[in-house]
Symmetry: C2
Subunit: 288 residues, 2 copies
Amino acid sequence: MLPTAPIIVLDSGLGGLTVVRALREKSPGENIIYFGDTARLPYGTKSGETVTGFVRQIITYLQRFCPKHVVIACNTATALALPKLKTEFEHLPITGVIEPGARAAIHAAGNKPAPRIAVIATEATVKSKAYEQAIYRRRHHAVMDLMPATLLVPIIEDGRNENDVIVRVALTQYLKPLIDRKPDVLVLGCTHYPIFKRLITRMMGSKCRVIDSAEQCAQDVTQRLAISGMAAPDQTVGSLNCFVTDDPDKFRSLARRFLGTELQQPTRVTPEELNAELSPALSMRKAG
Amino acid sequence: MLPTAPIIVLDSGLGGLTVVRALREKSPGENIIYFGDTARLPYGTKSGETVTGFVRQIITYLQRFCPKHVVIACNTATALALPKLKTEFEHLPITGVIEPGARAAIHAAGNKPAPRIAVIATEATVKSKAYEQAIYRRRHHAVMDLMPATLLVPIIEDGRNENDVIVRVALTQYLKPLIDRKPDVLVLGCTHYPIFKRLITRMMGSKCRVIDSAEQCAQDVTQRLAISGMAAPDQTVGSLNCFVTDDPDKFRSLARRFLGTELQQPTRVTPEELNAELSPALSMRKAG
C-alpha cells in the first residue's frame, strides 16, 4: 500500500462532502474517492439492518480502488453499521464521525466533571445511543440531551438557506428544548448540519461551544495517516472522484454548496450494480 | 385468473395506504397485497431510471402472488415508471394514480373551456409533466400551475399533524402562489397529501375544488374490475397483507394514521432479496 492510494469517503448523499472539504483543507495532497448513495437516501430514518446492508455493498464495490482508508462520513451509518463492518472488513482501516465528535465535545467541555452535552442528530443516530456510549466512556458524569432532528436533512437536501422561514422554524423547534437546558457543548451529530453552523451557533448563544463532527472527523483521519506514515505528499494536488447511485447532474449542481468549489462530473453506479457485487453467483464466477 | 386473486397496491412508503383505505371502503371483498419500499423512500426526489428500477424489482417479486391487477399508488412512480413497465409486463393490468386524478380534475372543472387547474406534487412528478399531458389531452385550453412540494412527504412521514407550525408554514409556502392565481381545481398529486386534505381545502377557499388522487385511483380500479367481471364477491371480507423493505414495526405503527385501522404485522423483504429476483444467474437457476 502506498501513501498515494486513495481515501474513500462515503455518505448517504451530500452531507459527507463537508468532511471532504475539511479533509482537502488539511491535506490537499490526498486522492479522495467520494460515494453518495443518492438513490437510497436518507439513511437517518431507516433501520440498522438496512443501513448496514447498503454500506456493506458500497465498501465491497469500492475495494477495487485499493483504498488506504475508508471514512464513513455519515453519523447514522457510523452509529448503525461501523462496528459490524469493521469486523467484516478487518484488513481495511475504517473510521467514522462519532468518536472524533465525542472526543472534541469532551475537550471543549474542559475540566468540568459533569458537563452538559447536547447532540442533535438523525432519529436513527439518537436511537442507537452511539453518542451516549462514546461520551460516557470519556466522562462518566456528563449530562446528555439528545434531540432527533428528522427534518433537517430533507430541508438541507432541498437546498434551503438560513433565511428560509422553514429553516428558522425547524431549528427553533429542535434547539429550543436544548437551549433551555443551558448546555456547555452542542454536537452537530450529522454531517449535513454544518451547512447551518453559523445560524445554530448564534441561536445557542455565546456560552455554548458548537462541535462540527465533519471537521473533527477530517482532523482524525489526517492524524491517523500521519502517524502510520501513510499521508500523501503535500506538494502534490490530490484528486477528487465522485460516485453516486442516482442522477449525477443533480448531485453535481447541489454539491457546490457543501464543497465550496466545482465538482468533476460524478460517475453513476446503479443499486443493481452494487448488489451484483454481493451475489453469490458472481463471487463464484470471480473465483472460478 | 379468478376474481378472488389479489390486487397489488405499491408505493414508496405509507402514502399508498390512502388508496388502500379508499379501495376497502368501495370494495370490501378484495384481497389486497400492499408493498411499501420503505428502505429506499422517498421516490419523489429521485430520477426516472432509479424509480423505474425499484418498481420493476417490486412487480417482478410480487408476480408470485398471481395478481389480477397492479396499482402503482404513487404519483412519482406513475409519472416516471408506468409507461415503461406497462410495456415490460404486458400480460399484467397495471394502472396508476395520474389518469384518474386528471379525469376527476376535468370533471370538477365542469364545462369551462379554459379552467385553471393547479397541482401540488413531488419534484419528480412536476418535472415529468405527466399531469400536463393527462390534462391537456382532455382540455386543450386548461391553464395549469404546478408546484413541487418537496418537503411535504418527509413532514408527513415524520408523523406531524395539521396543528404543527412547520406543516402550516410549509403549506403556506407551497399553496400561497397557487391561491393567488385563483384556481378552479387543485389536484393533490401525491398519495401522501390526503392526510392534510381538510386543512388544504380550507386554505384554498370555497371556490376551489380539491381532488384527491388516491380516492380517484381507488374508484378507477373498482370500475375496471367491475367492467371486466373480475370484482371479488362483496359478501366476503377481503384480506390485507403488507410487505415492506425496512423495519416492519415502524411501518405498522405509522400505518394506522393512513389506513384508519390497525394493520397485521408486515413481512420484510430486503432490497437484496428484491434484487436477487432480477439477477441473470438466478433466472438461469430457475429455468434449469
